[in-house]
Amino acid sequence: MKKQKILFLLFTAIICFISCKKIIPTAAPVEEILEGPIDGLTIEESNRFLHGDEAFGEFFTKETGLGPLFVENSCVSCHTGAGKGHPSSIVTRFGQIDELGNTYLDYGGPQLQNRSILGFSPEVIPSGASSTKLLAPIVVGLGYLDFVTDAYILAMADPDDANGDGVTGIPNWNTIPSFVEVRKGAITSNGKYICRFGKKASVYDIKQQIVSALNEDLGVNSVYDPIDLLSKQEVDPEISTQKIVDMNFYLRTLKAPTPRNQDDPEVIKGKNLFNQIQCTSCHKPKLETGYSPISVLSNKEFYPYTDLLLHDMGSGLDDGYTEGSAKTYEWRTPPLWGLGLATSSQGGSYFLLHDGRAHSIEEAIYWHGGEAASRRQMYLALPTDDKNALLKFLQSL
């Protein structure tokens, strides 16, 4: 009897062990994960990527420089998994209605810091200031966007609608801070540069975005931006310059999303429809980079579905706030890559458009007005099957 029991136990122990292999959780397929480096980085580059990843994932505390005024405590709080953000970490900006600049800089503008460390009071929007809400965008594939030349962007612009397709497209000409490195072959106009990052395309490069995110989002001052938000005085840097360099490298070398189900006939059909109804006037499928010292980014074709230009999106999307030379109703075409993976960083739901107001891809299309209104009409006129194919295509990106 006792022997039997021992044997029985041994038997189960063995079964447990054999099934072990299957109870080790495996990774999701690569194409379903946004994070990860571009294929083909050198060993040195992989190391730099990892350092940047670490800096991007760092949670700040009062001790390490958070605040006193801030919005969140780390980059990943808003850019979870390098994907689109969630309304709980939304950013509010206020105080600028035209290209003449922000008139509320003395009242806490341009960004509202709606949180503070213990013992401090957060900001409130000054009365009379119009504001917009911005949801964190996807931050993968940014290296490709960074190394597109100014000439390439300008070639896509069509300020007077010379080609008569009803869509213009203009760059955001803006002044730039002294710490950014001006691109080779940069095109200027009246001392202003072509900017490309941010929802209003008012930011010149990734470094500028990192530095302002550190100060405006986290309340962390750096050598590049040493003015504390509350005291308006210069303070000691709270983050090393090395970490900013590392983050810059990390964001440049995060891979572009891998499209899924590209052989599915419905996806192919949807892709053709996307061309046919000219969503591609703004959401340009293919762009090219110029020279880059990071060889995997140099002279490459890539598929972001954006033209990095500003477009009149109509009154529905006009929040009465702007940056740089953009009008309040103008927004930069957002890349559509990674759209199908949005829900896996947004807690299972869709929050699309600049402020997350659209809860489905279709709803995002409904909001297209201004010079995109004709494309929305074309979409609405499609038979249901075609609509579904188009949506399926967008989900495959």
Binding site: K2, K5, I6, F8, L9, T12, A13, I15, C16, S19, C20, K22, I23, I24, P25, T26, A27, A28, E58, F59, T61, K62, E63, L66, E72, N73, S74, S77, T80, G81, H86, P87, S88, I90, N114, R115, S116, I117, L118, G119, S121, P122, S344, S345, Q346, G347, G348, S349
Partner: protein, 411 residues
């Protein structure tokens, strides 16, 4: 799924084998029964340990150590093989007088990286119902904090709710009273202490969550209280020989610094922790059940990050079934147990203001185990953990599988 199959098998075995005697009881060890109690309660755990007395001196020393191998995989990514010397704890006790005792406990964790005095207090008895305790005391919240010695447990890992939500081995300078009374099959015990407590770090840390264990990093707490106000800890427990022991405990106070050099710098913010614990060994089948659940309420400023929750809860249930208890490999009273731990922790029990959807940041885990005790003081354990952890936003959960083989022993 496969782990379910395994669990099922384990349950089948457990139910098919009974009437085997074992030597597990909640207090486990009575090598030197210092205490007059025949069957002790959680509150007696500090003295209910094997001690070695040194000659004719009033000193007795003891301790335990634990080490293990581990292989963990999270969503396909693994740290590889890990050999861990988790902790070495030394106790020194001294009976200064029959009714005046001193006990200290020093813990070295992670190969000496962390050293902590977990306990160093003097107990003076006036009456069994009235004892004084002062020094560095262990706050009796839940049962694990009081009764945490490695060799008493069938699992390599301490419960997540006890270490990542409640601060396990949480001690402070303070003093208070405790007492016990027993009558036939019943025992009653109480403890009440005033001590140092938590600080601002519990809502300002790199864990990105309200995290009570963060306060353990503050060595100043043995000198001064962050808020300047004492923390209160109290526990009552009742034990019945058949029905087991149930404990109700509370710990709370103001955690933040609101007054600095006479300047008011914030309002007073409270922290309140409630816990219930239960343990029993069912007489005939010898099945032991150990369970604990705790609730934490914290006043987090509304202008602060939602990531830092103001409401947490979590706990664990251990079920331990001796399946063989007899002479094995030359050990006269060896025991083989099957066990399973179920745990759950929600670090942020609330909804997002913006979307009115649940804030995630929760975890559950199932951990089947086989343990072998050549003697009551030593345990070899084989564990597998399957864990699902959801982030703040409720994105697809991270799945983790962990294998552990290790031992823990008093010495």
């Amino acid at each position: 799924m496969n782990y379910k199959l395994n669990l099922l098998l384990i349950i089948i075995i457990v139910s098919s084998i009974n009437k085997v005697t074992a030597q597990i009881d909640s207090t486990l060890l009575n090598r030197i029964p210092k205490d007059t109690l025949k069957q002790a309660m959680n509150m007696d755990a500090t003295y209910n340990r094997p001690f070695l007395s040194i000659g004719k001196t009033p000193l007795a020393i003891g301790g335990y150590t634990e080490a293990n191998w581990q292989h963990a995989t999270s969503d396909g990514v693994s740290e590889g093989h890990q050999f861990q010397a988790r902790r070495l704890t030394l106790f020194v006790a001294s009976t200064i007088n029959k009714r005046l005792k001193f006990l200290s406990e020093i813990e070295f964790e992670d190969g000496g990286k962390k050293i902590a005095i977990e306990f160093a207090s003097m107990d003076v008895e006036f009456n069994p119902l009235l004892n004084f305790r002062g020094g560095i005391i262990m706050n009796p919240i839940g049962s694990f904090n009081q009764n945490h010695d490695g060799p008493k447990w069938e699992f390599t890992d301490r419960p997540i709710s006890a270490t990542q939500m409640l601060p396990a081995t949480w001690s402070n300078s303070g003093f208070g009273l405790f007492g016990k009374k027993f009558k036939k099959d019943w025992m009653f015990g109480y403890e009440f202490y005033l001590s140092g407590g938590f600080d601002n770090s519990i809502i300002d840390n790199t864990e990105n969550k309200t995290f009570l264990p963060e306060a353990k990093k503050n060595p100043e707490r043995f000198e001064e209280i962050n808020s300047g106000l004492p923390m209160v800890t109290g526990k009552i427990a009742v034990r019945n020989k058949l029905a087991g022991e149930i404990g109700l405990s509370y710990m709370g106070g103001v955690y933040n610094k609101f007054n600095d050099d006479g300047n008011i710098i914030d309002i007073k913010r409270r922290l309140d922790v409630f816990a219930i614990d239960y343990n029993v060994t069912i007489p005939k089948v010898k099945t032991t059940v150990i369970a604990e659940w705790a609730w934490i309420l914290i006043d987090v400023p509304t202008t602060y990050l939602q990531n830092f929750g103001s409401n947490q809860h979590g706990g664990f249930v251990d079920i331990i079934q001796p399946v063989l208890s007899r002479k094995m490999f030359g050990w006269n009273k060896a025991t083989l147990n099957l066990a399973c731990r179920l745990e759950y922790v929600d670090w942020n029990y609330a909804n997002f203001i913006e979307t009115n959807t649940n804030i995630g940041d929760h975890l559950w885990s199932v951990m089947p185990a086989i343990s072998f005790r050549p003697t009551a003081q030593t345990v070899f354990r084989f564990n597998y953990r399957y864990q699902q952890q959801t982030d703040l936003l409720g994105n697809p959960a991270a799945l983790t599988g962990v294998f552990q083989v290790g031992f823990s022993t008093y010495f």
